[in-house]
């Protein structure tokens, strides 16, 4: 009666094999490595970079233990010691980046799993450790959306002023109250005309009119969907800006994520210098438009590092080539209201569309009229270091504040350029609202502590079970070990972040998982006490305990899921492991342990005794324990 059909054993064996396979990478540890990724989108990490790196390392007799190319994204080169890792980093840095100040590739220290390649090829990786276990910095930044909206309203107010002037619509004052633009008109007819103009020209605004002091006040507000778009853009743009800046830090696996509607989480594993990280995160970029110096001296200064003419400066462009521009600033980022990637209407070439505010448009028209055929440079200054984003030739006079830049760009570059331009102009201010730094030694200590807790707790529980329930205790302990293995395997598979509270949850969930086996074993004992035959006792023990096990898991799961829904940071790590552990325990404690019992006892036809420890029976017949006098009905074996 206690036999499993063959398919159940197959399920068990498959689960064990898969579990073992995915648990395996955690035992190999990690090797020091150097990670190479592209600093700018125009560079890619491909086979040519790989061979270049390989050659350089071989020449310097720093043989890598492994080279792993994730085409287009990164190249990871493993080494046998941190010493050669550091040397190799220097070497690769020099090989790939001609100009250290303006690197084409980011070379960062990292760790890669030491597991054999056949395991790595199956995408079986060790568990992903949280910052509290590996050390690093965590920031949460709040984006000031109101400021982004106010800024937009301010520039729209300027645009409206220009439009009204162009169309000769007379008003007696434009002002901005928060995010509302207020325009006062003498009479209704003019106000209506202005409303129409705004409706035609500014698709993101809606207008209302109200009389005030004998005049008509026109109130223009941002449409909700326009406001939403502005916020989304501000957030996306801030994330991109952060990406670009963090690239400079040379962090191997930075995490930059949106959280909620207006927050960004930045995690930099391995970074200890919070001051520098904060400096880089909090930096603001400024944008300037200047004319390129077209004189012969300037040309020669660009090509062969000659003397820069008086009144001009030399800046590198995105590719590291020098451009000499005049010192006089025509426009700043303040005047640029938007920059979007797109296509030229006629040629279908990739293009960047700029929108200037009223003042910017006026200046721009004058400048372009006087400088047709010359080049104009848009520069981005960060940390006092300038860079030419783009330097297009002025083809005609450009009025109206709408500028299109085309030529020698693909869509990726157009996207990049637009983002960079916006970075200098639009980014909403951000504030650090949460910061956590964990030193590397603390991270290692936390791992050891978590590991010790789990190990010794496991040993204690297993020892008790084996002594108290003998063979059934051994089965229970094996099931508990399988539970641990499956849990680790699933965590490795999902690459869920393991934190110290997560390790605590692992210990706790093992303590709770043994509950199921205690329930079963106690129930089997009780059946035996009531005089059931061993095989029947085993059968009923498992059958009857199942519903209680399910109950207890449901209530714990309710708690776990609530924590998952409302928890944040470390608590979320706890909840994930907790919930997963409960699920795996159902498999291991019931299904798997039953398999073991069936395998051991199931074949024996005339089973006399079961090794489950003392089955104590009250000696006297005067027992008051009525429960033990009644035989519970036995269900037929459905297994």
């Amino acid at each position: 009666m206690n036999r499993y059909p063959i398919w159940k054993y197959i399920v068990i064996v498959v689960a064990l094999l898969v579990g073992a396979l995915y648990t395996l990478p955690n035992f190999f540890g990690e090797a020091p490595a150097v990670q190479i990724s592209a600093a700018k989108s125009i560079f890619t990490v491909d086979a040519s970079v790989q061979s270049k790196v390989k050659e350089a390392l071989e020449n310097a007799s720093l043989p890598p233990t492994s080279i792993n190319l994730d085409a287009g994204r990164s190249l990871k080169v493993g080494f046998d010691s941190t010493d050669s890792q550091l040397k190799a980093k220097e070497l690769i840095q020099k090989t790939l980046n001609a100009n250290v100040d303006n690197p084409s590739y980011i070379v960062a220290l990292n760790l890669i799993p030491r597991s054999p390649s056949w395991i790595s090829n199956l995408h079986a990786d060790p568990m992903y450790l949280g910052l509290d276990l590996r050390g690093g910095v965590h920031f949460m930044l709040q984006v000031d959306m109101q400021a982004a909206l106010t800024k937009r309203a301010e520039s729209l107010a300027g645009d409206i002023r220009g439009q009204l002037r162009e169309r000769n619509i007379r008003h007696s004052g434009i002002s901005r109250d928060g995010q509302v633009i207020e325009i006062v008109f003498k009479d209704k007819a003019t106000a209506d005309e202005a409303s129409r103009t705004i409706k035609d020209q500014f698709l993101e605004l809606q207008t209302t009119q109200e009389p005030s002091n004998g005049e008509i006040k026109l109130r223009a507000t941002l449409l909700p969907q326009a406001a939403k778009k502005i916020q989304e853009q501000a957030l996306k743009q801030n994330i991109t800006t952060l990406h670009n800046r963090i690239n400079e830090l040379g962090v191997s696996e930075p995490v930059i994520q949106q959280q909620g509607l207006d927050r960004i989480v930045v995690q930099l594993p391995g970074v200890q210098d919070t001051a520098k990280a904060k400096d880089i995160l909090g930096r603001t970029a400024t944008l300037e438009v200047r004319l390129v110096d077209e004189s012969a001296e300037a040309r020669s200064a660009e090509t062969n590092n000659g003397l820069v003419p008086f009144g001009s400066e030399r800046f590198p462009d995105r590719n590291g080539l020098a451009v000499v521009v005049k010192k006089q600033v025509i426009l700043t980022g303040e005047n640029l209201t938007d920059a979007q990637p797109g296509f030229d209407n006629q040629t279908q070439e990739a293009a960047v569309h700029l929108t200037l505010d009223a003042k910017g448009a006026r200046v721009f028209r004058d400048i372009t009229r006087e400088n047709v055929g010359k080049r104009m440079a848009i520069l981005l200054f960060e940390k006092g270091k300038g860079e030419v984003v783009t330097a297009p030739v002025i083809r005609t006079e450009i009025g109206g504040g709408r500028v299109q830049i085309t030529g020698h760009m693909n869509t990726v570059e157009a996207n990049d350029t637009a983002l960079l331009l916006r970075a200098g102009s639009l980014a909403a201010p951000m504030e650090i609202i949460e910061e956590r730094t964990i030193g590397p030694s603390l991270g290692a200590e936390n791992i050891a502590k978590g590991f010790d807790s789990v190990t010794w707790g496991f040993v204690a529980v297993a020892t008790f079970m084996c002594i108290y329930y003998l063979l059934f205790g051994i089965f229970s302990s094996i099931a508990l070990a399988v539970n641990l293995m499956l849990l680790v395997a699933i965590l490795s598979m999902l690459q869920a972040t393991l934190t110290l509270p997560g390790m605590a949850a692992m210990a706790l969930v093992l303590g709770m998982a043994i509950d199921a086996n205690v329930l079963i074993n106690e129930r089997v004992r009780e059946e035996l006490r009531n005089g059931a035959a061993p095989q029947t006792a085993i059968l009923n023990g498992y059958e009857r305990a199942w519903s209680t096990i399910l109950d207890s898991n449901v209530t714990t799961l309710i708690a776990g899921l609530s924590l998952l829904a409302f928890g944040s940071g470390p608590v979320r790590g706890f909840a994930v492991v907790h919930c997963l552990g409960i699920l795996t325990s159902m498999f291991s404690a019931v299904f798997f342990s039953r398999g073991l019992v069936n395998l051991w006892y199931g074949q024996k036809q005339r089973l006399q005794t079961v090794s489950i420890g003392t089955v104590w029976r009250p000696s006297g017949s005067d027992t008051n324990s009525i429960a033990s006098n009644e035989k519970s009905t036995q269900s037929t074996n459905k297994n």
Binding site: G439, F464, A504, V518, E526, L557, I558, A559, L563
Partner: protein, 318 residues
């Protein structure tokens, strides 16, 4: 080996009043401490800065306090953390100061005092985040309570749901009472432990309720009180062994988990111990006071007293 050689049902319910009085007094004491002393909330909830620093040799806390006070904090806490060479500094949020710079400034000062100072960890939480965490924590608590009540109400009946949840909430209050009375730090992991223990000890009540229901079906001659006594007695060995095993794990965390897991494990320990007590004595007694009856549970089951093996509610016994 067998720890529990019980010959007859222990008349727990005869002393129900006494148990309830004990619970009530502990409960009142917990409430008293919660209101008089309040919880010692961690920076995660209050907002502020926390810096943990390790030195090569033990340091004079007063000297360090004086140095850091030059930055203008009036509510500064410095204490040893684990050993005399490790210190923990807590600073409140100051309006107007770029609070994320606090830890950097403090580290500079500490390095002046003793160049061997090494930053182990620092944490800065803005006030808005702290409020949110507190609100989210409460939401999670409410969610657990409501979820479990619904589950118990579906699984049994409203009287059991009320009895179960009151018994286990009383555990939660008592854990909080301990944290208030001894001014242990109440952090996010502790909150997680409290909620986990709530889910865990409710199932203890479920086991006993299950057995009460089964007894109602099988032992038709017995009175409610005798049925409850029998249910508690026959599930007792399982209750104590499972909790003992979980406690072994928690004990291992308490011993090896270090400072970070200390209060987490402590909350679990109190929760597990009081969980046994409350589900055995409080939940069952409350259910008794609420007047559980045979008819409440088996009104649909007219087929007879025998257990139906296909009934999902049968067989949940130990």
């Amino acid at each position: 080996m067998e720890f529990f050689k019980i010959r007859r049902d222990i008349p727990f319910m005869r002393h129900a009043l006494a148990f309830n009085a004990v619970s009530f007094i502990t409960f009142l004491a917990a409430i008293f401490f919660l209101f008089s002393k309040g919880l010692h909330l961690s920076v995660e909830f209050t907002g502020g800065t926390l810096v943990e620093v390790n030195f090569a040799q033990s340091v004079n806390l007063d000297d360090l306090r004086n140095r850091i006070n030059t930055l203008g904090y009036n509510d500064l806490q410095i204490q040893n953390f684990g050993s005399t060479r490790d210190i923990l500094i807590r600073m409140p949020v100051i309006k107007g100061v770029a609070s994320s710079e606090q830890s950097t400034k403090v580290m500079e000062l500490l390095k002046e005092a003793d160049p061997s100072a090494v930053l182990r960890r620092s944490e800065f939480v803005g006030p808005q985040v702290g409020d949110e965490l507190a609100v989210d924590g409460l939401k999670a608590l409410v969610c657990v309570i409501v979820g479990i009540m619904i589950y118990l109400a579906i699984r049994f009946e409203w009287k059991y749901a009320v009895a179960g949840i009151i018994a286990n909430l009383h555990d939660v209050i008592i854990i909080l009472g301990f944290f208030a009375a001894f001014q242990w730090e109440f952090s996010l992991p502790v909150l997680a432990a409290v909620l986990a223990v709530l889910g865990y000890s409710v199932n203890e009540s479920v086991v006993i309720f299950d057995r009460i229901r089964e007894n109602f079906k099988r032992l038709r001659k017995l009175q409610t009180v005798a049925i409850i006594d029998n249910a508690i007695t026959s599930t007792m060995s399982r209750t104590i062994i499972t909790h003992g095993c979980t406690q072994l794990m928690v004990l291992s965390m308490l011993l090896f988990g270090g400072e970070t897991l200390h209060y987490f494990a402590l909350a679990l320990t109190i929760g597990i111990l009081f969980g046994i007590y409350s589900s055995v004595f409080v939940a069952a007694a409350l259910a008794m006071w609420l007047g559980i009856k045979r008819e409440d549970l088996i009104k649909n089951n007219s087929s007879g007293g025998d257990l139906d093996p296909n009934d999902p509610n049968s067989g949940a016994v130990v």
